[in-house]
Symmetry: C2
Subunit: 346 residues, 2 copies
């Protein structure tokens, strides 16, 4: 009897807590790179901010209604995948073969289960396929045709490859190819270009390696989740895979520490195991999320790896360090306040 | 002048050190799993030990002659890839589609450069392709046809897929498929079977997830390198990729800490970023290689991830923890002494 009363008390307390204390946080990114105010028009800036806000609202709506952090991450990323503004899903960049090969991964912090897909060409929302791998298979990483076959079995939305084609991204490919023909050092910065030619001007970001999207959420159960989705690198060859579908490199989540999603020059993020490194530093050195996240990006800067990350810890603290000129980013904090940023100093 | 004399002195000292102090170490594994003495015949045991010794000698020969740790890792792994005894190269297991899809990765500790291939079907020695990716591309991970195209351009040896076919491995596939038909819980242990039917008896290891090979070396320059090569999981579907080609999960090397190569249930090794975790624990907690490596495998045991790893630090210390019944393993230490082990207690 005593036990039942205690259980009832705990149950009521937990319900009251859940209702009164909206302890949820969502943080997102839409890629880091040479994003400079001087290359922006007010229209472009407005379009990006509106889409980031839409993604934040979609994810936050899930969290407010007691949805899971996995649902929130997926909802936020789906908005960005469905937009041509970002290098993921609909806006994925072109490979050397004028196709799109997309990668995505997701991880949840309560049991550290994870799922990922790489090199998929017909799945409308790759993050949904990553989630299906996590929840409906014993595997973590499925690739290419096999991943598509699995996604189809899971009844995810499959689209014709033409869905991902766009003139803007194709012109971006041609410019990168032209540049690579004339530049011996393929690793060099692509610099800035005037791209006023394009109606929507989304490709003034000449960095061929950037534009990945990601989200990290903390739900009312205190569960963290992180996800990342990308079209990879413009003009990529040889079925190259970057950090986005690699658990530990592009995505990581552990309720004991934090959730992380990265964006940047994937090869460097793989070599330094960036997403997990934030968690490891917090865990083993006992420092704050902010200290750990900044240490990791400082290490990347020293290493020559450009990019950034978003991170969220179990207490709802947010960090969004990057070593590029800008990073599309935003968050909704516990108190419901929204922040959206694009450039370096805001 | 003073400077020149000092430089000359340092140069001579370094040459003398290199010649007098053979500071090199090589450690290898040929997979972890349900390897029990009672299932072994003296012939089988002899065959495995002889092949492990051959691999150790091949790598040690490179190191003794002032070769690089990368060369040594490749030489040792090539011996195991070319043998039908191990689940890598020639002995790679069958996928659900009765093909072989092989993965490999390599990383060097001096600049933390890395290369990997996944899902390749025609490259005789996948570790050589991983090395070519590291040295001849700006990428880290190439997959499937693209990786094969790249390997061919690098003039690596390409073979017909029939090279990887074997009756023994095909029977292993059929048994796993039969078992999966009758067992609902695909994650359960496969138990032990009597496989005296097979002449060479290599498939008494019924664990469908094991048999990966790997090597870690320390050369006379003090440079570490680590590599891993595998056929993956018997009966794998959907172009599944495990931990072996994932830098951070299956392979890691950093001159400041250690080199690591893993073997085991890949999905668990990916989720816990096992190879990098050994390095992170050493680095951030300031503990020894042995302490870090054992902490990581203890964590895997608690997590439910079966397998093992080999690790080697910059001072030549070796650790080879595993939580399975056995792991094919061996090392040559600084003083030239060779150790070869198979079971748990030796």
């Amino acid at each position: 009897m005593k036990g039942t009363v205690l259980l009832l008390f705990l149950f009521m307390t937990s319900i009251l807590n859940a209702q009164s204390d909206s302890n949820v946080v969502l943080v997102i990114h839409g890629g880091a790179g040479t994003i400079l105010k001087k290359n922006m028009t007010p229209e472009k800036e407005k379009a990006y901010k509106a889409k980031l806000e839409e993604a934040l609202n979609a994810g936050y709506e899930v969290l407010k209604n007691n949805g899971s952090s996995v649902d929130a991450v997926q909802a936020a990323i789906n908005i960005m995948e469905d937009s041509p503004l970002f290098n993921a899903g609909k806006g994925a960049v072109y490979t050397n073969k004028e196709t799109q090969e997309m990668d995505a991964s997701i991880m949840r912090g309560n049991d550290k289960n994870a799922g990922a897909v790489a090199g998929v060409q017909t799945i409308k929302n790759p993050i949904n396929a990553a989630r299906a791998v996590m929840e409906k298979s014993e595997h973590v990483l499925l690739t290419a045709d096999g991943a598509e076959e699995f996604a189809a079995k899971c009844e995810l939305e499959i689209v014709d490859t033409s869905y991902f084609r766009s003139d803007v991204r194709l012109r971006q490919l041609k410019r990168v190819q032209e540049k690579e023909k004339t530049v011996l050092d393929h690793d060099g910065d692509q610099g800035e270009v005037d791209s006023s030619e394009d109606e929507f001007n989304i490709d003034y970001i000449e960095d061929k390696k950037f534009g990945t999207v990601g989200a990290v959420a903390l739900d009312q159960n205190g569960d963290l989740a992180a996800g990342t989705s990308t079209g990879g690198m413009t003009n990529k060859r040889y079925n190259r895979i970057g950090d986005s579908p690699i658990i530990g490199a592009g995505t990581y989540a552990d309720n004991q520490t934090c959730g992380v999603s990265c964006t940047g020059h994937g090869e460097y993020f793989i070599r330094n195991v960036v997403a997990y490194d934030v968690s490891a530093i917090m865990n083993y050195k006992g420092v704050s999320l902010d200290t750990a996240a900044n240490e990791v990006i400082d290490k990347q800067t020293e290493f020559g790896g450009t990019g950034g990350l978003i991170a969220l810890d179990k207490d709802g603290n947010v960090a969004m360090p990057f070593n590029t000129a800008g990073m599309y980013r935003g968050y909704v904090k516990k108190d419901g306040s929204i922040y959206i940023g694009i450039y370096g100093e805001e």
